[in-house]
Symmetry: C3
Subunit: 399 residues, 3 copies
């Protein structure tokens, strides 16, 4: 048995031992999932990754639709979703709110049913307005529950969160797979110091989903988490509370710092990234619902001015030298605001970014496999049997 085959076999055994349950369930917020649910996604994602690299075909659907709703621009997540669907044999069908009649008097309930007659999964991205994205996904999910209960739908498609206002689980699980592989296993993450830090960006209104998703996910694996940001740049308090609770339960720790330099000291991994304070995001949603264009422009100006006071929240070489052995792993969901590359002043200097560029690319590449794993877990009663069959059949994907 080849080395990669052995690795896959071991991971299939790992998956078998996990007590996970995702069949006909959605994947909306990582903190609503059990630790085994999360490990199952990770493990299956790695199995799919290994098999794909060995040119093993992973087509588990002869035909089938995967609907996507992207309510914001997206290159990476869109392509990762498209890749995952193709990998498993699903056809992605984009619902473009402009082309369609969604805006023309359809209720969410009706639309959700109409798009689900032949669909296996519905991927949604809706991250720009606090209070909207997750609620929209829940509304869709409830409509699907209704359609299934009423006999309209023969099968209940799964809703997958491709980034909402609160969480970005397909991203943060990719980050976690990367961390795990970089440090040599999930157990190696225990009491490693991870700093999720705000950083300056010339743009405005970056979503909260990544920093929130990161602290609420990594806190489950015993890491020592420091959440660093300038005063008033708070995340949604409930999510921070969740992260604290998870840290206590997992034997890690959780601290908040308003001093980037202090936070970075002896860090094992750092995730410097801009976001907007949650109360700004809330205000913005209110203004948007009132269609208050003047208010939105004023808020933007106010926030950019506010941001400009914190240009020193920059991940530069000097700061990186203060991390563990001057060698903390730099993480980012990309694209980063790289000073001297795509902006004059940003989240990270070009030198630091270049040092870790390849690592950030590797961090990104798990996303499609994480999504594919979620789809298999949502759509099949016995995912272990499904993946075991693919492994044994060993059909060529290409050629």
């Amino acid at each position: 048995m080849a080395k990669s085959d052995l690795m896959v076999k071991t991971k299939i055994d790992d998956l078998f031992r996990l007590n996970f349950d995702g069949f006909r369930k959605d994947f909306l917020l990582s903190w609503d999932k059990s630790a085994d649910d999360i490990q199952a996604v990770m493990t299956l994602a790695e199995i799919l990754w290994e098999l794909h690299n060995d040119n093993v075909g992973l087509r588990v659907f002869r035909t089938g639709l995967a609907v996507s709703f992207f309510r914001d621009k997206s290159t990476r997540t869109r392509l990762a979703y498209a890749s995952a669907c193709d990998l498993l044999g699903l056809t992605m069908q984009e619902m473009d709110e402009e082309k369609s009649q969604i805006a023309h008097g359809e209720t969410i309930r009706e639309t959700a049913n109409m798009i689900s007659f032949l669909s296996e999964v519905i991927g949604i991205r809706d991250d720009m307005f606090l209070g909207r994205g997750h609620n929209f996904m829940k509304e869709v999910a409830q409509a699907l529950d209704g359609g299934f209960a009423e006999g309209v739908l023969g099968r209940r498609p799964a809703v997958i969160n491709l980034q909402c206002d609160l969480d970005h689980p397909t991203q943060t699980l990719s980050d976690l797979v990367h961390l795990k592989n970089y440090f040599g296993g999930l157990n190696e993450l225990k009491n490693k110091k991870l700093v999720m830090s705000w950083a300056y960006s010339p743009s405005y209104g970056k979503p909260l989903s990544v920093p929130q998703g990161i602290i609420a996910l990594l806190s489950r694996f015993g890491m020592d988490i420091v959440l660093a940001y300038p005063e008033n740049y708070d995340l949604v308090p409930e999510v921070v509370e969740t992260a604290k609770k998870f840290s206590r339960e997992s034997g890690g720790s959780f601290a908040i710092s308003h001093d980037m330099k202090a936070a970075f000291k002896n860090a094992d991994a750092v995730y410097p990234k801009s976001w907007a304070p949650y109360w700004v995001m809330q205000k913005r949603t209110d203004l948007m619902y009132n269609n208050d264009q003047k208010g939105l422009r004023e808020l933007e100006k106010e926030c950019l001015d506010q941001n400009a006071r914190h240009k020193d929240w920059l991940c530069d070489e000097e700061l990186m030298k203060t991390t563990r052995n001057g060698n903390a792993l730099y993480l980012h969901c990309l694209p980063a605001d790289v000073q001297g590359l795509n902006c004059l002043e940003g989240e990270v200097t070009l030198k630091v970014f270049e040092k870790y560029r390849v690592e950030t690319y590797k961090e990104a590449r798990y996303k499609a496999f994480v999504i594919a794993a979620m789809i298999i877990i949502c759509c099949f009663r016995d995912p272990v049997a499904i993946i075991d069959k693919l492994f044994r059949e060993n059909l060529n994907r290409a050629g």
Copy 2:
């Protein structure tokens, strides 16, 4: 043999006995098809539906393209077409008139040939301008005839009408399958009273294709049809004549009423839906071709004013009480203008709509299977052999 298998087997035998002929033919207007042609589509659609629900793979194309031209916004028909194509193994390729060069000096003949080298089917929606949609489809069809005769095309793709100015056969055949199943068989439709009624909508210029398609289709199955509308809201006279002729031939009846209340009395099924008078639609087309924006605005205002005089054409509970046992089946192609849900005054009250909401969803879900049936009948010389093979092979669609 399982119960669903027996049902499928029976229907395959039914299909075998029908004298239909659709190979390399288009599906443009239901009234140009024989009754057996229509029953074949229905029967095959139901077989596909049953097999799909039993997780039987229906991939009859290893590869192949299905082109779609949507000249109007569409959620449902677009997704139904995408679903049908995926179900059979075709890749849908959308021709977006904005992205493409169609508007840049290409003739329809040239475009039709260029998009057909590897295509099996061309689905077109063009319903907004009376005198355009069906004519455009015929032009495409003629171009394909030419391309095939001239040896440009190795195979002549079928054109499928996904809604034109005159008819909407994929919708009305779904409606018919629903009616058939609701009442317990095609024979049960004989002398059932169906009211196709105009109803008030706050919007303007709704196409004629559904009411025309409904009266011209259901009149073939012996129903007692009442077409109800305020004076001057006439449908295209030739289509009404066709419906009358079909009614005579099928042993049903056909009447026109200008009194919604009288029409609904003792009805077995009602289809209240707004449309614009055919002479308005004609005028609108003329104005559009002359690019007379002022004229178009004036016509819109005039028609909205005209509509506003008929707000009492509303399907409410009181009216529904007057139907057979107070229990007529409410039909709609969706989305409906539901008073109190997506408009202040509309086609139907929320209470009536809610009572029949699940039924309207079920009515909608056949559309993808109707389209898939049309594709199989157009693309294969022996559709019975094709479906019989799928039934016998019994390959899992998922897993």
Copy 3:
């Protein structure tokens, strides 16, 4: 063995004898490829064409992505690419620069890696600005080299030029297959006179890629090429030099003429088509990069005025009578500016165009198979084995 089977078998033997090498290489400019590389694409394209016509399934990918970047409008090339991908079992995923974040601070290097994790091929069209298209493709290709070397990408996708500022190889190879079949073999092209001629068009700024691609490709097969254009309408000098060199090497000839009538005398094939002088295309690029809207408008006016002085560069019946036996083959990449069909004054008269219309359609239909051939040659170490397997397995594509 059926006649078409014998033909395919012969061509597979031809392919086997060619000394070509395209595995994990791009197809950017035809003149950077060896003659055997080009013949391999042609031969494989014809094999795929024959097999497809015989309903042989050509799915060589169980799953896989083909990314497309279209930076300009396109009907035909877009659909040809979609057709080729579908034919081989790849899913085309369009990168829409508006929908995506490409414009938002991503570097080409990063984007190229992000879209390539699961991709087999990246097709790019970028032809409007001289100095941009080919350079963009090279940048993407270099980024992919980097990603593969750095271990980010498990496999290095191939970049395929779907039209750049310099060359349009998928078009010109289709033209060449058509010429070859029309004249009865590649050897029959030797010392046939081909005129690539400028012709009047009412539009402005048509790309140079087709005329350049034509002279640099056909010069390799011993044709006597005359490049005809009004003074000052020069092509990029380096490309013309390349064509001259190829002509010398292949035993053909190459001449430039500024007299359309003289050029057409005794021609065996003519390709009358408008383009903009290369120095205009260069100026336009500079103005665009400086966002000089006024300058762009002035340049457009100047060029249209300049063009208008050459309305006599028209391919009409009289001119065609002067060709060999009055019967030269008319070539065009379509859509043509046909006088009396889609413009008042254009490249060709309606009578001439109608006489050769079917031939131009046949010329166009090879494009999808040329692209498919490029994909197979780029993605598989042993394309002969791949195609031989498809031929032997002989699975039905449809049914």
